[in-house]
Symmetry: C2
């Protein structure tokens, strides 16, 4: 047991929004509230727009802002980063020490001894660099990275906070699209383009639509190289089985030579190159090759902000991860990223742990080989068993005037 550090804490959010990043923030707020009762953490400050705002000392006192537990509950169900976000990466050690000196000055001035950073890979990098600098300069501080990413591509952790809600949105929406496509008798293909530049976890979640009554006919992930002729053969085989074919693809599918399917350029009326999505490219390719009715649908940003259909499992775990981060930091842990690990039990159970950031940062976890079928055009039952628990349970927001209530930090 390390010695207890007394002082203030600061929390920030970084990178792209998710439906669960505020649930994790709420967890940190809850953890800090409990630590305040014990007299350990005095105030929890929020940095606006991550380290970018921290450098300008744009801080908000979250201990005061969230005195009311009802507000914390509303925050849990509010999508996107309530504190604002940034894409700033800290410089390499020795490259621009002025930034680190400035941060140290702000920490000292505000008596900040705890630093929680909720984000993806870049944020874990920030945690590692900041930890190294403070240690070198003997400023006692606990620095913890709290993961969030809809992409589910971080290592060590079984899955990432934010992924389950995105997966639930995708599974539900694809199930609804499959139903929508089933109404006509005319042969038609619908290509659904799902987020995921390098990892296919989000697209794999479309397979869960099968529990609603209709999954896509084929699922193509970036982990497998994409072959146009095999694709045409697959679609023809599906059209032989039924008239309404639905295909799920990752935006990041690539040909064998490594080029993105979606990188094929189109030109606008002025002759400017315009990047089309992979879905649009395949739509046009199918129209030319097969000649049937084809449309493509891009699920777009709702995948990361559709809080109205968040996974209860995801939001509960996201809160727990934030809360445990505070507890671990008080216990002396620093330079770690929080993880969610799966128990080896019949029914799904998880617990929160942590690992040194250095073991995790800057690695990408791809969809496992045994999660993809031999033909590279669907996921396996093993994959579905892994995915299913993550979307379980509904975490509905409160509604006012017919729309979800959102918490906006003043």
């Amino acid at each position: 047991m390390e010695k207890i550090l007394y002082g203030n804490a600061v929390v920030g959010q970084s990178g792209g929004p998710t439906a669960a990043i505020n649930a994790t923030l709420a967890g940190v707020i809850i953890g800090a509230k409990e630590a305040k009762k014990k007299g350990i953490i005095n105030n929890l400050f929020g940095m606006r727009n991550g380290v970018e705002g921290l450098l300008d000392e744009r801080l908000v006192n979250l201990s005061e802002e969230f005195e009311d537990d009802a507000d914390i509950d509303t925050l849990i169900h509010t999508p996107a980063a309530a504190l604002g976000s940034c894409r700033k990466k800290l410089p390499k050690a020795g490259e621009n020490d002025a930034i680190y000196e400035r941060l140290l000055e702000i920490f000292k001035k505000n008596d900040i001894r705890y630093f929680f950073y909720i984000g993806g890979n870049d944020s874990m990098d920030t945690v590692a660099k900041l930890g190294a600098y403070m240690e070198k300069n003997s400023y006692e501080m606990r620095i913890i990275g709290v993961p969030k990413t809809i992409d589910n591509d971080l290592d060590v952790t079984d899955h990432t906070p934010g992924y389950g809600s995105a997966a639930k949105y995708i599974a539900t929406t694809v199930a609804e699209i499959v139903r929508d496509c089933a109404v006509y008798t005319v042969p038609a293909v619908t290509v659904v383009e799902i987020m995921g530049r390098d990892a296919g976890w989000l697209t794999a979640a479309s397979s869960l639509a099968k529990f609603a009554g209709g999954a896509p006919d084929y699922i193509y992930l970036p982990e497998q190289s994409f072959d146009m002729n095999s694709f045409f053969a697959d679609v023809r085989a599906a059209l032989d089985r039924h008239p309404n074919v639905v295909i799920a693809i990752s935006e990041g599918i690539r040909f064998a030579d490594g080029t993105y399917v979606g990188a094929s350029a189109t030109k606008d009326v002025f002759g400017h190159n315009q990047l089309s999505g992979a879905g649009k490219i395949l739509e046009n390719a199918l129209k030319q090759e097969i000649g049937c009715k084809v449309r493509s649908v891009e699920l777009n940003i709702s995948q990361r902000c559709a809080s109205h259909i968040a996974s209860k499992t995801d939001l509960d775990e996201s809160v727990e991860v934030g809360k445990t981060a505070v507890e671990k930091a008080i216990d002396g842990i620093s330079g770690h990223m929080m993880t969610i690990l799966r128990k080896d039990s019949e029914e799904y159970q998880s617990f929160v742990s942590s690992s040194p950031v250095a073991e995790i940062a800057n690695k990408v976890k791809s969809v496992f080989d045994n999660f993809i079928n031999a033909d590279g055009n669907y996921v396996t039952d093993e994959c579905i068993s892994y995915l299913r628990p993550l979307i379980m349970g509904e975490a509905y927001p409160s509604y006012e005037n017919g729309v979800p209530k959102q918490y906006i930090i003043k």
Copy 2:
């Protein structure tokens, strides 16, 4: 009071799917069940794929299929047409009487005395033509059109079943997108393209996002001609106010000369013309003109099939409309379209009525002039007051394995 007709009934669904078209079907099933108890309607048949399937006598006995009320409840929350749909229009009287003769033969053979057709404008046209033929040929029958369209563009009725759920999806999704856009400090414009080729009702619903904490900065409807220079000026003014600008546009916005903004063609790598959506066109125009970060988002087919966030008001009314259609038909009404009328009360209240199809069919109800502001770039408070009650209440489906349960007719 007309004389009571004893016999069987048939119901069909036609046109594009909605999140409420099965709620109306459920209403007809409930109405027929009650009529069966009274010994009036014996069996309710469902025509698969509308009149297209009826002509092939592809019928399913819904009285047997839906003996269990729990199945009716699941049906209410299932998107898209459970019976399948079609886009078939009946020929003009005298043009191809063989089709009408065939229908009469099927009605006689199956003792069908009640015909309910759930659909949009084309379906009301079918109702009118069929009614005229059966009357001319002295076949006693009651024929009722039951409206459904997310577009809300039918006349006489205050609003259409299916619209409220689409509007709730749009308001909620736009609120989430506004939150998502608010996280960064870099100036950026997001253009959200919403369905509605000729009427702006769906796009107008984006204004309801204001109740969640953030509405679009501007809303452009097809009812007003679109001017690119005014648009640039609007966006510049919004960027002066805050960095994160959100614009809602109808897919059907048009320039003063009547051409669709979205009709501007782009060319793919093979030199083929490709129609871009209005959102994509404005995205590129803003990039060139203002040079800031711009993206466009197409809400796409979820607008018509997102049952997971259906409006309770809409689903309740949709069931009621179907149920009342059966009651009215038994009472002797024929050749009518069901309508929903709004009571002149402080709190929103509605009731179901009907009007002769001929008064309604083939007319388009545009967004009223007093619902659009003088600058033509937003809706008025009067519009918001009209819209708000239609998205009230949540009608959640049951979930199994993390995804909504759907009823699929075998």
